[in-house]
């Protein structure tokens, strides 16, 4: 009898045989290292305020039940179709992607994917063989499989570049569509599991760092106006307008009756106004509260470079101050890449992965402080 081969990384169930192009970047890196394409903020546009752009397209097969009704049999059929579409495709970026399914991916590894924003917390609850991720190892493209929809094609890029993110995600859409019958209706557009998403099935989002808007107490008012314009704003960490670390997600609500290009263009235009507002408020903070601001930023930097125990919330809050201080030239420059990476590095699953074992709260806070100290030192550039 043949012994089942235990693969080192356990998670590779489906494999493209004819593909040797993937090269050095293996799927393993996605779980063991933190850095992803969207964290590459050094040269991206407006990347001091717009951390990343994401476009997500919801697609469903017309003949197969939506994810919440899938069972062994229909799940099997579904995975065969997806696997075939992926295997057959000649499209380069799709060929570079790897298929990971959740049935033998540990809870920790699924959390790693959540912390990298590649899958949703809901999706991470899944352990079925028909749920998973088709992902490019650099994290720029990730297709959630059987989350709320059969497929959610996502592209993540640094800075403000929704148009490019849409271009790349819809290329994957085209490539998959060569093999798959996506549910589409002339009048209602792409048919989605939740009726709120029909039409383009597209959700475009920007991850924004807005410390000055928060500090100056303008967020309630500005976010209210954004809501009026048909956009959704929410805190990425923490809840609502009191977002910890001042990271906000701005995204479109409307999916029907507007083209993808129009949605992206209007989100881009509106976000430029938000960016403008944030920049103005930063300057008026500098003018009116110079010492208070410098003090606040200096203290944050001091704590982060010397603390031995630090909680996730405190770290996120102080990192926001440090980021602001760097953007305003008040403290030594640390690369945008290092800062972006750090925000993910200090989250529980990433810390645990780094430590290699389960941790109690104190050792996690200790590990977090250590990771931050190291990063702030190595990330510091010669001035």
């Amino acid at each position: 009898m043949r012994k089942p081969r235990k693969s080192v990384i356990r998670l590779k169930i489906w494999k493209r045989e004819r593909d040797k192009e993937v090269g050095g970047m293996t799927i393993k890196k996605l779980f063991e290292e933190t850095f992803l394409a969207w964290m590459n903020g050094e040269t991206a546009i407006h990347s001091d305020i717009v951390i990343s752009s994401r476009v997500r397209l919801a697609r469903n097969l017309s003949e197969i039940a939506f994810p919440h009704l899938l069972n062994q049999e229909s799940g099997q059929k579904f995975m065969q179709l997806i696997n075939e579409a992926w295997q057959k495709s000649e499209f380069k970026e799709l060929k570079q992607m790897e298929l990971v399914t959740f049935e033998n991916l540990s809870a920790l590894d699924r959390k790693i994917l959540v912390e990298k924003h590649l899958i949703s917390p809901n999706h991470a609850q899944s352990t079925a063989f028909y749920q998973g991720l088709l992902v490019k190892p650099d994290g720029s493209l990730a297709v959630m499989i059987n989350e709320e929809d059969h497929l959610r094609i996502q592209c993540f890029l640094p800075g403000l570049q929704l148009e490019e993110a849409y271009r790349r995600s819809q290329e994957i859409d085209d490539a998959l569509e060569k093999e798959l019958d996506f549910a589409f209706d002339d009048r209602r557009g792409y048919l989605t599991s939740c009726p709120t998403n029909i039409g383009t099935g597209m959700r475009a989002s920007l991850m924004l760092h807005l410390p000055a808007i928060s500090i100056s107490g303008q967020s309630g008012h500005i976010f209210h106006n954004l809501n009026q314009l048909g956009l959704t704003v929410r805190g990425i960490y923490g809840e609502g307008t009191e977002a910890i670390g001042n990271f906000f997600q701005l995204s479109n609500q409307i999916t029907l009756g507007q083209s993808e290009e129009d949605i992206n263009a209007s989100l881009t235009t509106i976000s430029q106004q938000v960016i403008e507002q944030e920049r103005m408020l930063r300057e008026s903070l500098r003018e009116q509260m110079k010492y208070q601001l410098e003090d606040r930023i200096g203290r944050a930097y001091g704590i982060l470079t010397h603390a031995r125990l630090i909680s996730s919330n405190e770290a996120l809050t102080l990192l926001s101050d440090v980021r602001l201080g760097i953007d305003m030239g008040m403290i030594p420059r640390i690369s945008a890449n290092a800062l972006n990476e750090l925000v993910v590095d200090i989250r529980p699953a990433h810390l645990q992965k780094k430590a290699g074992s389960d941790m109690d709260a104190v050792s996690r806070d200790a590990k977090r402080a250590e990771v931050i100290r190291e990063k702030l030192q190595t990330g510091e550039e010669e001035s």
């Binding site: 949703s120 085209d174 209706d185 009048r187 939740c194 008012h221 995204s251 009756g257």
Partner: protein, 169 residues
């Protein structure tokens, strides 16, 4: 306007729910909204969207309505009953949109207004959509020709429609 729940923070989440044909508006701050499980459309909380859709469709509020034949009719593709969609706010498959077209229409209208899709058309099946749009255009012209009593022209158009319909299968 302040949040109706905590009365402390400004209300930034505005919910309009239809309840027995009456519009009920709720104004909350985002924090209270997320605690209450209420939902901003488009955020990633599928459960609460399902709840909301359920209430859109008239379920979920403990109001027992007589089971009409529609409630018991099921989708030919996935087998789900409309009654279950009302309960859970979740459709069974893409074909449910066609199977329950009339039943879903009011709630889809409430969510999306009268809007039509103007975005991307899939390459596959896109041809069909184009043909269908062409046929609709021809049917319009046919009616106009008949109204003008241009029967020769009408016959020509009718043949064109027949040809196109053959191609679309």
């Amino acid at each position: 306007m302040y949040c109706e729940e905590c009365k402390l923070r400004p209300a930034t989440v505005h919910l309009a729910q239809m309840f027995n044909g009456q519009k009920i508006e709720t104004h909350l701050c985002e924090q209270c909204a997320s605690q209450k499980g209420a939902i901003i459309f488009g955020a990633d909380h599928q459960l609460s969207i399902a709840n909301l859709l359920g209430s859109f469709l008239g379920g979920n509020y403990g109001i027992q309505e007589a089971r009409s034949p529609v409630q018991n009719s099921s989708c030919p593709n996935c087998g789900i009953k409309f009654f279950d969609i009302r309960q859970t706010g979740k459709l069974g498959c893409a074909q449910c949109y066609m199977a329950f077209e009339q039943e879903l229409e009011p709630s889809l209208r409430r969510i999306h207004g009268n809007r039509q899709h103007v975005g991307k058309i899939p390459l596959r099946g896109g041809e069909k959509v184009l043909w269908r749009r062409q046929i609709e255009g021809l049917k319009q012209r046919l009616q106009e020709a008949v109204a003008r009593e241009e029967y020769e022209e009408a016959a020509e158009i009718r043949d064109q429609i027949k040809n196109l319909e053959k191609r679309t299968g």
